[in-house]
Symmetry: C2
Subunit: 288 residues, 2 copies
């Protein structure tokens, strides 16, 4: 997916968010914002939003020296999500179709904003989960995924954020564990999950976990390591979680199962769905 | 009010709106957006948002040659608001406090988004008006305004948008008409009211109407004509309608009565109120 004009105000809002987390010095904040505006005025809009976000965040890292702005938020998110895990597993134990329920819960994990300060609103969380379980959902993607999984020997699961990764574990546990490789980012970017988060989620004890060699908030293939690309290319099934992975892999040269909630108008437009829809959809451009 | 960092994504969203109204040519759209990003990266953030918006819109006018993007929308807004006028006057005829009700209706005119394509949702309009009549409202500003009006010989009313200007007429009709000067913009900017809109609203037959000599979406004193400034400085009472006038006149060197709904977080913060609040408040910096 290319970067739409509408992505630009949104990328600038993200810039403001991260800038304020890094420093309360308004002079430095202004320096960052001006630099990002200048960078964006020259941006290649054929690149995907996560690629542009990568350029912006690297510029901010260069200007400030701060490498991991969201570390505390990520730790907090993981802690909260882990607290919810037993109850979610209990729900799964009674599910008629555990894979579908796990997929729905993984999308719920994509919606819950763990990155809030202080305590989460637990009633809101419960409502989100209930909403995810009852939301209308085109199951054709799930049917195709189930078919592909039937014969798959190599499954790659691309994670999205910390906190959310614990919800992803519910889906991963439905897969043949010895066939699964879970993928995290190689270095911190926003609240994206890195190896440490996979460890906290208990995934490293469960399945093979690798990083993708880069730190864009998505999976920008041109930035990924050759090691990751081998896994990605040779997998029988790739599951990609969240908007960032959709934005960066919608034109990937292979089939990818995208698992996300369409949170913004541009992604919804690209997916031909409504904002708010729950999506499990095969995409990318299979070469054969 | 200075331009907050948060105003920047908002100004860029406005840029997108106006750009798409001017041209459907994506190459030209991209040229405009890049130019505005570059201009904004060098902006003086001590200037008010309407001053910055003025710079952006003039850049767009220079790049495209289009002077009045919103003409049709303004005509449509006026037509719709005029249709509502008899019913609003009927409400006023039964009001216990006509000035307060007129002020509330004028704020309702600030909320209703006339600039929609096709027909307005009349139920929504009715709800907005009812909401405006019952909204909680700090009447201390109104009390002070009433006191000032008691002895005022020169009253200046700074209008905001087309459509809305017809609602402003309800307030203006409560004032001593021979003391009133209504002010519009000298040239088109977004959907701000110009002389033609004052004519359509019937104001030119009712009171003196002048323009302020400039075309920023607010009242940027440094851009205004000497003729307007004389009226502004010598007035006993100045009433300024809408956010743009608040943003540009909150630091004016005289008392100004601001009449608006706080629509954005930055204006609300500056006014020490909540987003959505109805405001009639004396501000500016009286010199004596």
């Amino acid at each position: 997916m290319k970067t739409y004009f509408d992505c630009i105000p949104c990328l600038l809002r993200q810039t403001l968010d991260v800038t304020r987390k890094i420093t309360s010095d308004e002079v430095q904040q202004e320096q960052i914002i001006r630099a990002v505006l200048k960078e964006t005025s020259r941006a290649n809009l054929l690149e995907s939003p996560p690629m542009l976000a990568w350029r912006i965040h690297h510029l901010i890292k260069k200007l400030t020296g701060v490498q991991d702005t969201y570390q505390e938020i990520k730790e907090f998110s993981n802690k909260l999500a882990l607290k919810m895990l037993p109850e979610l597993k209990e729900k799964l134990n009674h599910a008629e179709d555990p894979l579908e329920m796990a997929v729905r819960l993984a999308i719920a994990g994509n919606i819950i904003d763990f990155g809030v300060t202080g305590d989460l609103d637990w009633r809101m969380v419960e409502e989100t989960i209930q909403g995810a379980l009852s939301a209308s959902f085109d199951t054709r993607g799930l049917d195709l995924l189930r078919k592909r999984l039937g014969t798959a020997k190599r499954i790659v699961y691309l994670t999205d954020n910390a906190g959310e990764i614990i919800f992803d574990r519910l889906v991963i546990e439905q897969l043949p564990l010895d066939a699964v490789t879970v993928v995290v980012k190689a270095a911190p970017i926003i609240n994206d999950a890195v190896m440490e988060d996979a460890k906290v989620a208990g995934l490293t004890e469960l399945v093979k976990v690798i990083d993708n060699g880069m730190d864009a908030p998505g999976t920008v293939l041109s930035l990924c390591s050759p090691e990751f690309l081998k896994f990605f290319e040779n997998a029988d099934v790739v599951i990609a979680k969240g908007q960032g992975n959709y934005e960066s892999l919608s034109d990937a040269p292979r089939e990818v199962f995208f698992l996300l909630k369409a949170k913004c108008a541009m992604v919804a437009k690209h997916l031909h769905c409504q904002v708010g829809n729950f999506i499990l959809k095969a995409g990318g451009h299979p070469q054969d």
